[in-house]
Every structure is written in structure tokens, then in C-alpha cells.
Amino acid sequence: MQATQAKPTINPKLVVPFVNSVRNVFSTMVGVETTVERPMLKPQPVPSYDVSGIIGFSGEIVGSVVVSFQREAAIRLVESFAGVKLEPESVDFADAIGELANMIAGAAKKDLGGLANISTPNVIIGQGHQIARLKDVPCLVIPVSTAVGNFAVEVCIKQVTKAS
């Protein structure tokens, strides 16, 4: 008899911290109103948007959080964040994307229920890129819309059981 695998479900304990952090980051530091859409599980591998900031998690929580933007949304949101228009090919643009991802992941981290370390950001810029994740962890996608375009927070993390 074959064992059937349970279908992955959305963990609400992951949704709320990231919804709150998106709203907080964008209202305090970017000055742009965000609308958080219905979260979903992302089948892999499906391309993210065009510009992605990646934060790794280690410690009691492992995995990665990716904040992925439509290209035009990234350009406009970075301009609001940095106070100056930055070319997407520039190091400064990648830096700004990385810092947005850092703040979204970092602000959510304290409400996830474990002490974790986060990496310094990595940024990928390019249409149709795919990001490999932990293979046994569902990837939760929280779509966000703004007046200047869309982005998504992709949460692929799990709590590690402490050794007794």
C-alpha cells in the first residue's frame, strides 16, 4: 500500500509577520501604499518577477525569503526609497533592492517564533530567472500590489527542531 503525502497548506503563522513587515517597510521608508493580495503556494519551478532580493535564514529557522519585483515597479519603488532615480544596471540599484529585502525579512523575523540569523542580501536582476529553494519546504507567495506595479514576497522557510 502506498503512503499518500499530505498536500502542503499555507501556514498562517508565516503569513502575518510578512504582511505586517511589508506594510511597515513601505509605509515608513518608501512612502508607498501597498495592497497585500491572497497568499498562495507556489509550484516550483516558476519564474519570479524580474528583480529579486534574496535573504537566507539560518539557526532555528532555515530557508530563504525572496522579495521579487516587476522591473518597472522596482525602478519606481527604489526611487521612492532612495530619494533618487537609479539605473537598474547600477550597483546602487541592487543595493537598494537588497536593503528592501533585508528590512522585509528582518522585520518579520522576530515574529516567526525562533531565533534566526539572516544573511546579507543577494540580488538577481533578469527576466525569467528562477530561484532554487529547499526542496521539502512549501514556498508561500504573498503578492503585493502598489500604484507603481507589483511585487511578491516568497517565503520558503522552516523551523528546525532543537536537538534535545
Binding site: N24, V25, T28, M29, F81, A82, G83, D92, D95, A96, G98, E99, N102, M103, A105, G106, A107, K109, K110, L115, N117, I118, S119, T120
Partner: protein, 126 residues
Amino acid sequence: MKILLVDDSKTMRSIQKQVLIAIPSTEFAEAGDGVEALNVIAASGKFDLVAIDWNMPNMVGHTLVGKIRAKDRATPLIMCTTEAEKQRVVDAIKAGVNNYVVKPFTPDMLMEKVKQTLDRCAKAAA
């Protein structure tokens, strides 16, 4: 006033400068990680305030605080970071920071925390 901004994000340092430039007669120095910060301090002498991020390459902010405090107990240090867990704040204070501001912050929040830090340290020194 001389302020050293230590953060691996140039964007964040720029935002901090845009806020803190409102403090009269302020000059800024910058560093992208703890190693660079120590070099800047060695080369430039005393600062009136050092704002330090936690997560940086080469040397994390918590370690940098310890290294600064090993030689200088007086310079006001403020941690400016996304790390908001209680244990992190406790660790930073034990290492020697005078205040803590959590990202994301509004300009008013940052300015208030910096002024609070400078006031506290001035009173402690008096």
C-alpha cells in the same frame, strides 16, 4: 558634530544622512562593514556618534561594538538594525551600545533616537 555611519547598504547610509543632516554643523564619514569602520576610526580620530548596523560582511555590528568599546567607553554608539528580538537588543546593550533603533524607521524616529542617545551620553559624562 562628526557622525560615522556603518552599514553595508549605501542606500541606508544615504537615508540616514538625509535625516541627520538636519543636526547643525554635522559632518559624516561612512563605512560598509566593521573592518572598514575600525580603519576609519583609526584614521579620523574621535566621532561624536557612531551608528552601526548588525548584519554586515567581514565583521558584524555586534563584534564591532565590542572592539570599539575595548578602547573607547565614551563615544555614543547607536545600533540601527532589523534585528529586533529581545535577545539581540540585550546582547547589543551588553556589548556597549547606548541606544537601539529598529529598521524600518521614519525620519522622526531616527532623529529622536539619535538626540536621545546624545543627551543620555552628555548627561552621563557631566
